[in-house]
Amino acid sequence: MDNDSLTKIRVVNVHKSFGENHVLRGCDLEVQQGESMVVIGGSGSGKTVLIKCIIGLMRPDEGEIYVDGLEITSLKERTMNDVRKKFGMLFQGGALFDSLRVWENVGFGLQQHTHLGEEEIRRIASEKLRLVGLKDIEDVMPVELSGGMRKRVSLARAIAMEPEILLYDEPTTGIDPIMADAINELIVRMREKLNVTSIAITHDMKSAYKIADRIAMLYQGKIIEVGTPEEIKNSPNPIVQQFIQGKSEGPIKIL
């Protein structure tokens, strides 16, 4: 392929089942360097499974995933760990470490993988927290934070190691609309400031339009359509139209 140097992540024909439940059925996706890709799809459509396969938290049953041209599904755990250093991930519930203070959470990667002293890690953590619009909460325990703050701390932790790729698992789910918009702003700013490649999964269309360069729709384990937000809005595909307009009537059947 001639545009290989620009392709950051390439997912080829990925299958993944859990018992009888065949979640991904030949999923293909390409994300370019510096691009913000948003994967949309209903609950249980396999969005989270896809993102977990990309960062190596799950292994696909079949298919290949390339990160910077390196096939990762067959990598040993140790080598995979090195690949993961390119990634930062924002988890749905934040997934902050309960036993560590906010600054220790943000500086966790630095503490594990660099020889920086505590002072220096703390300084970098504060800087990253400011970047996501938080200050003076370094010594707070995660349980004391609200949902929106947890997400922002989690984002600060994800960017602390200056990753090349950011993954967002439902960044706006479970928080109020104003905070959701603030998170969307942050995601856009992250891309502009840090020039990262990102993949976000969401079913919040407002968020998708705001942060995406391109949108991909996942349906029944396959990517059925990829395009710019404009192209998706004008898609002739009735499945896509039903989803983005949020109608219960249409080709997508609800049990």
Partner: protein, 234 residues
Amino acid sequence: MILFAQTLSWVFRPPMQGGEILKQMEEVGVRSFPVVIITAAFTGMVLALQSFTGFKRFNAESMVGTVVALSMTRELGPVLTGLMVSGRVGSAMAAELGTMRVTEQIDALYTLATNPIKYLIVPRFLAATIMLPILVIFADVIGILGGYLVSVQILGTNPTLYIRRTWDYLEFSDLYSGLLKAIFFGMIVATISCYQGFSTEGGAEGVGRATTKAVVISSLTILISNYFITVILF
């Protein structure tokens, strides 16, 4: 079993999580101390009472000290300490790791390029393996002391005779076989409880299930393996 092997393979790989190990040692060792002491004291006491009743029937009351010392060091010290620790620490380990699993904190460790076995399990494994024998030493001493107090204060045994009987028949092998058992039990509790926590599925209910399983399985494994270790050692 696989987890046990993986844990061993990570134990000596730098960087060591020094702070985490100390924290866990405090949790496993220092905080279990009161429970273990009370268990050992009353076990030693009841042992003296019971064996006295038995031995009195053939005029061998003076052997009570020996029985208490041997039972405590070889059997009851390590087994009861193991059971108490599996109830107190094993359940906590399973619940904590289980919660971390269901709230994606374990996945988050992976994404931060940190192996959770190294970061979470190795410190717990080392702490349990190191602290259990230490707890057992205290349990042995307190158990024997409990037996002594009951014999001397309540049953009116001659104190010097009691101590002599304890010392004369107690061999070094009694002590170290008990401690060897304790090391195994420490490994058993940590490995089983961490495994249960690690493989938790299904939210809060799953955490509850994992905790119960951790305690039940590690207690049973202690009791069963205790028999086989005894067969092999003696």
